[in-house]
Symmetry: C2
Subunit: 256 residues, 2 copies
Amino acid sequence: MVDRRGDGDEGVTTTSKPPAESPVDVRERARAIPEAAVARLAVYLRVLSGMAEQGVTTISSEELAGAAGVNSAKLRKDLSYIGSYGTRGVGYDVEVLVSHIERILGLTRKHSVAVVGIGNLGHALANYGGFPSRGFPVAALFDIDPDLTGVPVGGIPVDHIDDITTVCAEREVSIGVIATPPQAAQAVCDRLVSAGVQCILNFAPVVLQVPDYVEVRKVDLAVEMQILSFHVARRADEAAGDVVNGVGVDGVVIRP
Amino acid sequence: MVDRRGDGDEGVTTTSKPPAESPVDVRERARAIPEAAVARLAVYLRVLSGMAEQGVTTISSEELAGAAGVNSAKLRKDLSYIGSYGTRGVGYDVEVLVSHIERILGLTRKHSVAVVGIGNLGHALANYGGFPSRGFPVAALFDIDPDLTGVPVGGIPVDHIDDITTVCAEREVSIGVIATPPQAAQAVCDRLVSAGVQCILNFAPVVLQVPDYVEVRKVDLAVEMQILSFHVARRADEAAGDVVNGVGVDGVVIRP
DNA sequence: CCGACTTTGTGCACACGTTCACAAGCGGTA
DNA sequence: TACCGCTTGTGAACGTGTGCACAAAGTCGG
Ligand SMILES: NC(=O)c1ccc[n+]([C@@H]2O[C@H](COP(=O)([O-])OP(=O)(O)OC[C@H]3O[C@@H](n4cnc5c(N)ncnc54)[C@H](O)[C@@H]3O)[C@@H](O)[C@H]2O)c1
Ligand SMILES: NC(=O)c1ccc[n+]([C@@H]2O[C@H](COP(=O)([O-])OP(=O)(O)OC[C@H]3O[C@@H](n4cnc5c(N)ncnc54)[C@H](O)[C@@H]3O)[C@@H](O)[C@H]2O)c1
């Protein structure tokens, strides 16, 4: 029912600093936000933006939780990580919440995106309107294929992978998206890193090796499907086992 | 050892007949595997498959962990959830491990996939070779656009969304992928569910409402980017570090 | 100004997941 | 056979995340 996070292992050397923190500054608080909560904050933000467009000005934790698919206690705890911006007895001001979540997620700055590998997936990403509209303008496209360089895709001309360093610097790219074949992914990753890109979203089904200061997130669709498959199998086993025992889920006797 | 598997294996054949086995068998164990571990098992499987192709027959937890980007203790614990198939002092037999992970993930059965919404993303998915090769044949494509119906994409002709029930039944679709615009996603989801599909992978940035017995996973790229953005911001705050007189970034007063 | 009602924010207990550390077990060697 | 070095498998400690339940804090009608 509720979806779970992909994973989020690797890298992220969160140096645990347990000394007594008396001055509660922003970075300490930011560090304290659980990774899982950050992911949900992004979802709340999307829902809230939709609400704002529909003219909603105030929303309760119960309503927002329903719309975001989480329970309300969790939602309130998540929001408490970023401060106390609600009004008891009333709820949250939508605009206020939006701006605070945006601040915490660092969306007050523009994050230019570069897509590397303009094949099937790269084309889709370059044409996708959902990135620019949410604060992530696609500023550069790269491919190794000479036939592609110069051709505009989604309004942006494709550059050759060899120009990655200069182009990324020029256009202040802060997020790199890897959509090349798996074999090329690590090499592309290395070039992105030497070009100064510190955030990478990887679609290739490989584990990337990066320095500690680089943040990598991966999207592996086959893994997603296998997780679904696992649940199908589990459910099938359950059904089979229950029939054999003559007892259904919840202990309901099927065939007395 | 949590449980003794003295039997000579069996496979997940539908005729599961527990002779004198403990009431809690395979399904109980399957249920006990943490969700996070399932995701990693899928990654191990991919790495192991690659190893097998390269002729590797045996691998230690240390090596496999390195290749999968996790620490070796976690890897061993993950593997212990599915049984004890290693040899102390030696490591794991690659082929054996592959087959056991496949069994646990339910990959011994074929899981036909239907993609709904053959736009930018849908085209990329339909053309993607990574699904069939990993046991997820794309068996059906759907769109609402009459101009698309009948046109083959990636070798499969697009059907009209109205035929979803019959086509899904015919081709035994078990996984539905939603790649339509957000506004259409819930409606498409409902139709998939009534067509009997119990697993859904959703690319549209909306929270889907489904019955309890349906498993949904979502892939939201904007959320991924916002998580990256959060880490950039956190890092920037750390670097810019010094909180001057209780005033942090953006002029937020830290200590009122 | 008060009291009834609503909703937030959070302390706490619990569940889940990760990591450590080491005994148990295996292959190789003398 | 007895020993040795290596690697697995896992109990137990630990850390993180979740959900409950309720006091605190606000609104609103009178
Ligand atoms: N197509 C999908 O729907 C899909 C889904 C999930 C994952 N993926 C993964 O995404 C990646 C791309 O998939 P695709 O279907 O778009 O592949 P594709 O073959 O259509 O495109 C790959 C592109 O990368 C370019 N390229 C190759 N080597 C390069 C290099 N060294 N530097 C820069 N560009 C290079 C190629 O010229 C090509 O244009 C693959 O790793 C694939 O496994 C794709
Ligand atoms: N393109 C990307 O790279 C990308 C990335 C992330 C998320 N997404 C999301 O994926 C979805 C699809 O994106 P896209 O770029 O492919 O959009 P698109 O507009 O190119 O394609 C959407 C397709 O869905 C079809 N469609 C519309 N309503 C339908 C219905 N009721 N039933 C069946 N088909 C219907 C349309 O005919 C069209 O072919 C969107 O929700 C988008 O937010 C896309």
